[in-house]
């Protein structure tokens, strides 16, 4: 279904947003390094504090992000086939499922703050709020981009390079929100349990 020059096809299969993704992933690697090195010397405090987090809510949120990612990937496959209506339907499903991540995260934050765990409680919670907060900003940006796609894109022209590139690029960004969480979840919630 793809038309146009080789450069057009390349820009759809491997769009330039990858430059942003690379910079973002490496900056999170730096954040991970900071958190993990700050943990040295106070690992008891970190692990005890981490046990106050709700690993089950974290699990549910991980499953939500994975499912949202899968739905967005299905939307991209539909768009590549030239099925604009199908792509829009999968994107709507992804938005519906993924909105639960935000609701759960906000509930988690308010429950933690209600129980007296704020960013100034100790170093663990400083970094917990920093990492999950920066990730949450990415989540908000990704959700806004998905919603903007669904309402602003002309899905009848999905075979055109510029329209398809939008769907692929936003999809890649959305998968990155998932990708980063796959490291943040074990780092903050799971490994302290062992």
């Amino acid at each position: 279904m793809q038309s146009g020059t080789a450069a057009d096809r390349a820009s759809v299969n491997f769009p330039s947003i990858w430059a942003f993704i690379l910079a973002d992933c490496f900056s999170f690697a730096i954040l991970f390094t900071i958190v993990m090195t700050e943990r040295i010397g106070q690992s008891d405090l970190f692990d005890k504090a981490a046990r106050h987090l709700d690993a089950q809510l974290g699990l549910v949120n991980t499953l939500i992000l994975i499912t949202g990612s899968w739905l967005v990937a299905l939307a991209v496959v539909a768009a590549r086939r030239g099925d604009g209506a199908g792509a829009r339907k999968w994107l709507l499903a992804a938005i519906a499922v993924s909105s639960a991540f935000g609701a759960i995260k906000l509930y988690e934050y308010s429950a933690k703050i209600g129980a007296g765990f704020t960013p100034i409680t100790n170093d663990f919670f400083t970094y917990y709020y920093m990492l999950t907060g920066l990730h949450f900003l990415h989540y908000i940006g990704g959700m806004a981009a998905l919603i903007a796609l669904v309402f602003n894109l002309d899905f009848s022209k999905v075979s055109e390079t510029s329209v398809l590139r939008w769907i692929v690029s936003v999809g890649i960004f959305w998968h990155m929100v998932d990708l980063l969480w796959l490291f943040i979840y074990p780092m903050l919630y799971l490994l302290p349990l062992i």
């Binding site: 330039s16 942003f20 910079a23 973002d24 900056s27 900003l137």
Partner: protein, 243 residues
């Protein structure tokens, strides 16, 4: 051709970027003793000794920084002119970028003025008040990130919409601009920390976040020169056709 050259002053504007960078590094960073900045965790007395020891160097450094600050606006105007060519039908992002550059210039002006004030009265004011003024300038400097975020995001968004086969600004530079601009949101955390990686002299705040501004500016300066070259070639080609 020469008297109707639309790029006549562009070289001056483009060179103000690198000259600004040199002035900022020499004045603000080296002479100003900001590599890394003075730790906010030290006592007022230690701070006073630091200021009194380095008084004249810091004063000179900040005077240089204030003097070169308008060059940042001039460079921003070069970028805006290129942006107007990248998207010929809509100059909203180009205008926003220029305003972003202009207000970022104020972020260099106001704190440096305060820091000169601190050194000016270092012999007669009490240490705690001096340190308070020094800290306040830092709040403007780091927490005042939003104009430059607006500037870099407008830069990236506009150049990404360039319809040319080979865009005036490489797409990775545009994305990098957007990413650097957004990553400055981390500065929102700076006022909450006096030590550690999130304090103003910390590994994350200074060596990564703050230095990103300079690294991106170096890259953007290089590609501004290249973009002007491309535009001049385009202009010459269209002139040849017209003739």
């Amino acid at each position: 051709m020469t008297e109707r050259d639309p790029y006549r002053y562009m070289g001056v504007l483009a060179w103000s970027g690198p000259i600004f960078l040199l002035g900022a590094i020499l004045g603000w960073a080296v002479l100003g003793h900001n590599l890394p900045p003075y730790s906010p965790a030290r006592s007022p007395e230690e701070f006073l000794e630091f200021i009194q020891t380095n008084q004249y160097q810091i004063q000179l450094g900040m005077i240089i920084m204030m003097t070169v600050a308008p060059l940042y606006l001039m460079w921003g105007y070069a970028v805006t002119r290129i942006m107007q060519k990248a998207d010929a039908y809509n100059d909203i992002m180009a205008t926003l970028q220029l305003w972003g550059a202009g207000f970022t210039m104020l972020v260099f002006f106001v704190p440096c003025g305060l820091w000169i004030g601190v050194t000016f009265r270092a012999d007669s004011m009490d240490a705690a008040s001096l340190r308070f003024m020094f800290d306040t300038a830092w709040m403007f400097f780091d927490t005042g990130f939003s104009p430059v975020t607006m500037q870099f995001c407008a830069f990236g968004v506009c150049f990404l919409s360039d319809p040319r086969e080979v865009p005036l600004m490489p797409r990775w530079v545009s994305w990098l601009g957007i990413w650097v601009g957004i990553s400055f949101f981390v500065f929102m955390l700076m006022p909450f920390f006096k030590e550690g990686p999130l304090a103003r002299d910390g590994m994350l705040m200074f060596w990564i976040e703050f230095s990103l501004f300079f690294w991106f500016l170096v890259i953007a300066c290089v590609y501004v020169f290249k973009a002007i070259g491309k535009l001049k070639a385009e202009h010459a080609a269209s002139g040849a056709v017209a003739a």
